[in-house]
């Protein structure tokens, strides 16, 4: 029974898929079909409108940049050079393309390029590993370190690194914030002891957290040549994002309904039983609301922190593409932007499903 309810509720969080799923289920009355078709239609129409606006917007920017370039050449180098420049730009030659907002089509091409690139690198990596297999075996036999592939990571690898970093950070936040939150929530005495700490460190920017973690980890890693960028970035992400969980857990634990406490007293539950059977279950919804905020904050600060930590994730990718200034760099940045957005959205949905699963008050989770 409980399972049934949970399953039903799960679907609620995927409500944006509902029009599509109902169509696939094939069990539709005419009105319902019309309604879901309408909903899907509206969504598709708004996507289309967005793409059209984007397309024309980028075209206008492209023209402005192109005209400026031609005029500048005209002023500095004369009419012949300007004409050559114009021809170069409109021929689509890579070297003289204006550097501005890419059109949707360019972004789409970049995405395909990045995916194709992934397969090239994957094949490359495999070939390398095969080639080094014998050598590595020999090295391993001698107890030495294996030679690993050190070529550039593909876009997919980059995304995976980012996801890994976020989850490591999220786990760290959970392990730190939930226990401390419970302790603080239970004891008003400890709350006042910790409160200044929370209030001061909560608003600190991700960049500063990174620097702090860097100072500490760098010293701890002294004499160790291995790459510590991952460690630094996930610790920074965790520390940055844990505050929502900490505050929510403390609040949830401190604000347990007085009726439940009375029940605990009348049943004469012991301290531990009171915590685990009454206080924790009743504050779970708030704890998970906190965790959901933590995950989305973690994903948001990740980009900035990876950039600083030189960790090979999306943040560094975006920054390097920007510094690179190649012809397709801008469209790669936009691809990264969409990937970041979509993954963030999916992470939030996953957390919402989990949140609804543990929430006894189904209307509370939003």
């Amino acid at each position: 029974m409980a399972q049934d309810i949970v399953l039903k509720e799960n679907k609620k969080s995927m409500v944006f898929l509902k029009p599509i799923t109902t169509i696939f289920k094939g069990k539709l009355s005419k009105e319902k079909w019309l309604l879901s078709a309408k909903k899907t239609g509206i969504t598709l129409a708004s996507v289309l409108l967005f793409l059209i606006l984007w397309h024309f917007g980028s075209q206008a920017l492209y023209n402005k940049e192109a005209n400026y370039k031609i005029n500048k050449t005209l002023k500095e180098q004369g009419a012949a050079a300007a004409e050559a420049e114009r021809a170069c730009i409109y021929s689509g030659e890579n070297n003289c393309q204006p550097n501005t907002l890419p059109s949707p089509l360019q972004v789409w091409q970049s995405l395909q390029l990045l995916i194709a690139d992934h397969y090239v690198i994957k094949a490359d990596k495999k070939a390398f590993e095969e080639k080094m297999f014998a050598t590595n075996e020999a090295l391993a036999a001698k107890g030495k370190k294996k030679i690993t592939y050190t070529g550039r990571p593909s876009f997919i690898d980059i995304v995976l690194t980012s996801i890994k970093t976020v989850f490591a950070g999220f786990l760290l936040a959970l392990l730190i914030a939930v226990p401390i939150g419970i302790v603080i929530g239970l004891s008003p005495f400890l709350k006042s002891a910790f409160n200044w700490f929370i209030q001061i460190f909560k608003p600190v920017s991700p960049v500063v957290w990174y620097l702090l973690v860097f100072m500490i980890v760098k010293t701890l890693y002294i004499g160790n040549s291995s790459d510590n960028s991952f460690v630094i970035s996930f610790i920074s992400v965790g520390l940055c994002a844990m505050w929502a969980t900490l505050v929510n857990t403390a609040m949830g634990v401190a604000s347990v309904d007085k009726d439940y406490i009375n029940v605990a007293k009348v049943l004469k539950l012991g301290t531990f039983q009171k915590i685990f059977k009454i206080i924790l279950p009743s504050s779970l919804p708030l704890i998970f609301t906190g965790l959901r905020i933590t995950l989305s904050v973690a994903w948001m600060v990740l980009i900035a922190i990876e950039l600083l930590a030189q960790s090979p994730g999306l943040g560094l990718f975006v920054w390097e593409e920007f510094q690179n200034g190649a012809n397709d760099s801008n469209s790669k940045i936009i691809v990264a932007m969409f990937v970041i957005g979509i993954i963030g959205f999916l992470l939030d949905r996953i957390m919402l499903s989990v949140q609804q699963m543990v929430s006894f008050n189904k209307n509370e989770a939003i």
């Binding site: 029974m1 409980a2 309810i5 009726d259 439940y260 009375n262 029940v263 007293k265 009348v266 049943l267 004469k268 539950l269 059977k277 009454i278 279950p281 009743s282 779970l284 006894f360 008050n361 189904k362």
Partner: protein
């Protein structure tokens, strides 16, 4: 010896100038196996009185004595049915009751405990809903779970704090009979707090009105000499019932009125006469 005794109970909330005296000079004796009802207006301190008896709070002065010992904390001997059910929403009906039973009989095996749970769920006729959560139940069903939870601990005394207050009239009558049935089986001591005089008369051996707070205190007691089992429809024509009910209501209304007149402040209006404008605008 009386099962439960309240001796000169006073209870204040707050301190200094902000002190409110909720209860004052409460004296009550309940014999073993007796069914006592306390009726009073909402906000007259009924819940405070209940919490004092079950040991959730302690009196400012005076003593609550249960079986010759002073009550200082809650005890499994006194089961409580709360006004707002107080079921744990993340547990099913069975789990809610199991938790209570496990605390009351820590030495029994899991199977024995489960048997008790099933027995009491059956008693309040909720077997089909044993795996449901409180959210999925109606108000009456939730209250039945609360009744089952309190009784499954096999307390010597049942304390009911407006247990049926939030229910509709039909469910209410139904549950009244159910509670009486259960009480009749092994004649435990029972204390019912209610705002419904009819309910009190129908269920109790004795009714004591609570004069509304602040400084709430118990009024004179009314004995109900109607033989059990009582028939609700016949009761309406019973002379004894009518007289008792009228006497209690009259008493409650009187103190209600007295309180109102105490509170009322006389506002003296200035003596004014409307000015006449007849002929005023003629030049």
């Amino acid at each position: 010896m009386a099962y439960l005794e309240l001796k000169n109970i006073y209870k204040n909330y707050g301190s200094g100038d902000a002190t409110t005296e909720v209860l004052s000079d409460i004296n009550l004796t309940i014999e073993e196996g007796e069914f006592v009802a306390i009726v009073g207006f909402t906000g007259s301190g009924k819940t405070t009185l209940v919490n004092l008896i079950n040991g959730l709070i302690t009196p400012t002065s005076g003593q609550v004595i249960c079986k010759g010992k002073e009550v200082k904390e809650t005890s499994h001997e006194r089961g409580v049915i709360f006004q707002n059910y107080s079921l744990l929403p993340w547990l099913t009906v069975g789990q809610n009751i199991f938790m209570a039973v496990k605390e009351a009989f820590p030495k029994k095996t899991k199977e024995a405990l489960n048997t008790i749970v099933e027995e009491y769920v059956e008693m309040v006729r909720l077997t089909p809903a044993i795996n449901k959560r409180p959210k999925e139940l109606s108000g009456g069903m939730r209250q039945r779970v609360a009744v089952a939870r309190a009784l499954a601990m096999k307390p010597e005394m049942i304390i009911m704090d407006e247990p049926l207050g939030a229910l509709d009239a039909l469910t209410r009558g139904d549950l009244q009979d159910e509670i009486l049935n259960i009480w009749g089986k092994d004649k435990r001591t029972a204390l019912l707090i209610t705002n419904d005089v009819d309910e009190g008369i129908y269920m109790a051996d004795r009714i004591i009105p609570l004069r509304p707070g602040p400084k709430a205190t118990l009024g004179p007691e009314f004995k109900i000499d109607i033989p059990r089992p009582r028939d609700k429809t016949a009761l309406n024509d019973d002379k004894n019932f009518k007289d008792t009910r009228n006497a209690i209501i009259e008493y409650l209304m009187d103190i209600g009125d007295a309180r109102k007149s105490e509170i009322q402040e006389q506002i003296i209006l200035p003596e004014l006469e409307p000015k006449s404008f007849v002929g005023y605008f003629k030049s």
